[in-house]
Symmetry: C2
Subunit: 494 residues, 2 copies
Amino acid sequence: MNKRYEELYSLSLRRGFIWPSAEIYGGLAGFYDYGPLGSMLKRNWENSWLNYFLGLGDNYFLIDSSNIMPHSSLKASGHVELFSDFLVKCKKCGESYKADDLLGEVTGTSGEGLKAEELDKKITEANVKCLKCGNGFNAATEFNMMFPMSIGSEGQDKGYLRPETAQGVYLNFKRGFEVARKKLPFGLAIVGRAYRNEISPRQGVYRMRELIQAELQIFFDPTKFDKTLDFENIANYPLRVQFHDDPQIKELRCEELIAKKELPKYYVYHMAMVQKYYLEQLQYPLERFRLLELGENERAFYNKIHYDIEVNLESLGGFKELGGIHYRTDYDLSRHQEGSKERMEVTFEGEKIIPHVLELSFGIDRNLWSLIDVFYEKTDRAVLRLPAVLAPFTAGVFPLVTKNGLDVKAKKLYVALRDYHNVFYDESGSIGRRYARMDEIGTPFCITVDFDSMKDDTVTIRERDSTLQKRVPIPKLESLLRELIIKKKPFTEL
Amino acid sequence: MNKRYEELYSLSLRRGFIWPSAEIYGGLAGFYDYGPLGSMLKRNWENSWLNYFLGLGDNYFLIDSSNIMPHSSLKASGHVELFSDFLVKCKKCGESYKADDLLGEVTGTSGEGLKAEELDKKITEANVKCLKCGNGFNAATEFNMMFPMSIGSEGQDKGYLRPETAQGVYLNFKRGFEVARKKLPFGLAIVGRAYRNEISPRQGVYRMRELIQAELQIFFDPTKFDKTLDFENIANYPLRVQFHDDPQIKELRCEELIAKKELPKYYVYHMAMVQKYYLEQLQYPLERFRLLELGENERAFYNKIHYDIEVNLESLGGFKELGGIHYRTDYDLSRHQEGSKERMEVTFEGEKIIPHVLELSFGIDRNLWSLIDVFYEKTDRAVLRLPAVLAPFTAGVFPLVTKNGLDVKAKKLYVALRDYHNVFYDESGSIGRRYARMDEIGTPFCITVDFDSMKDDTVTIRERDSTLQKRVPIPKLESLLRELIIKKKPFTEL
């Protein structure tokens, strides 16, 4: 792990964003917990994601499903057979490695998408040895990444922890479609945990065995894949894309991308919406974002078109996948129709069809880590320039001093604001130190009750990024905060 | 299951509250999924719970932890040895039963808290036979309810799915305490899943194998257990309690309960806060609520004082546990100190202590079911009288007709409100039918754009419970809804 990773991880531990799971028992590789700040950041990110992505359609809903799924359903989906990685094991010490990652780590070129024999060949050619003891490897074998479960006192039912939230949606498709009055497009999202028994998770919070996903499955009429009502609005929007056979990131207008790659309009429309989410809603810097095309060998077995959503993360050494835009066709519903013997066909505009699926998939842990990586800077002061809407605390509330009733008034203000905003009360240390503590965890505003407040019922509000201060009346504070945060009103116009 | 259960379950399936998991594969006993309405209700309940219970202290935070925990931690906590139920198995057909529940089902008196020999004796005495084939049972055996897991490609690590979220908090206690600046009382909450391999779940959504909990662990200085700053405010507050050896519910003022049962003030203060949550925040009818004392045999191995939070649910045939108030002493932290060899002592006010724990524990699935049971009524109309703050949709937005621009105006209003409220747009069917659809799922307000709206920019707002209607200006609508919902302003004062 590099210096930037160490810096951010240390911040994370110290202030309470992300911690190793079961740390007092020595931890468990690939498992992390969220501290107070991390869990608030997560909840805010989830709300922002739900608000934006469910807002893309009139007929998009959140659902939630069991993390344990029956064997039959994951057999049907193809995961029992195909959801696997290649494992190589040291002949001498027995250490296990994910073969493609090991190859990438040692040679600089990942072995993603290669078959067992190809991996063995490359490992031999590049003379890759065990990182622990320096010995050679047995031939690569396939390893299924799902966690199997036994259910019932006699293990009557076999199951797995779900490897992706998506499968929970597919199993609920029929009931959901009924509730949503049988209109297409129709969307179901799940925000929740997925579980992958990663062979040897070595990349910190980036490769986790228990991960949190936000996935939206959009069911649509495949005959309309090339039609999008709103396409005109984004036809000229420039997408930052990189093709699988090209080392350069390109800027192409949506129309140009369609002409070049023969992509369906509906797919490209969602590429634009995803990019807008990162660049406009969350204010990621343009140059740190790209949509990366995956070639045929690199795509999962259920995807026909696949662009990864990637952000350049200094702490992880370059562009990293935070999500993906997956055209899964009717693969999943058809497999479940076959496996369950329940018809997945729906009647839409007089035709019987199995809807196709466009999946917008996001790894929440990775996204939260990326926020810290992208927005944390430490120069003369340490500031986490989080989008205000995501910040764990909306505002810090301070009495200038803890006497003459200033603390009582500040505390009262804090309690009054707490019904509407997540605020933090702090009376210890100098105001400068209190500002610094709030800056470091991304709190966008600080409110100080001073001696003037006692006379005229106003307070000072300070903006994190500019450090500018303004004087505002206490009765207006709650609505001003809402304007600043939800409506993104510029602080200077307050 | 009784008629009321059937009625509510049918509503739940039809409108999308709760569905059986993996239904197209025949379902999996003890597993349920949340549909669109259920998942919004859940999210709102969680927010309400967090807001209220984290608000009980200045130093209470939400965290989140991995669902998979290492064997060592659950060995230390006592769960590997003690988290078990008694199982009896039919000699002939092999059907398994949870012994105490079976006894309760057949004889009307639960066998909760009995030992194996006592259960066998009662089963023989009452001549209880297999419900499937009518034959007798083998002797009761202990069955551990945790789901074991193997982690790593060779199963290098053994683990379990967590049986309660509480353990995730205890493992994070040390880091949390550091972050929270080492003050007591200090609280950490987790809202998330827990997993129990129930022997034979037969009670619908009431006994689930994968359940969702909201648990707050309050760490406090045991020398202060009988002191509470705010106690004066609740000394005369009447608690509805039932003692373990008394069939009657009693109303006792907090002071009286303390005198009678020698309960610590801090414990009773939290009983009052919990009761206020149900009766004042969520408006449960008084007579449907009780706090039930558990006797020594009935308490879990880690609890020293234990009152269940119970609500009378017609659909489940009587009072049912929705949560509990558990004085867990220093049992858990001490066990983890022993198991992990990490010191759990903290220095507080100059003394080295292991904090004691008061746990406020809630089963979310049961609470959501109880809302439907308590608030659904079907007389001349079907109305789910949910507290406004919990309702899946805040408001329905309708155009009176879909012509003359009314639908365009209504849609515009819907989109504008969506940034602040979860609203539902509906233009199909008569206004009466649209009201009825919203009443049935608990939407507290409906907004109709009519011909007058086109002239004077006002709309009709209708209240679910009273069916009263008022005329309000569109620009004021967003803030009026907030006042009605968050500040609980009476509709008649609008």
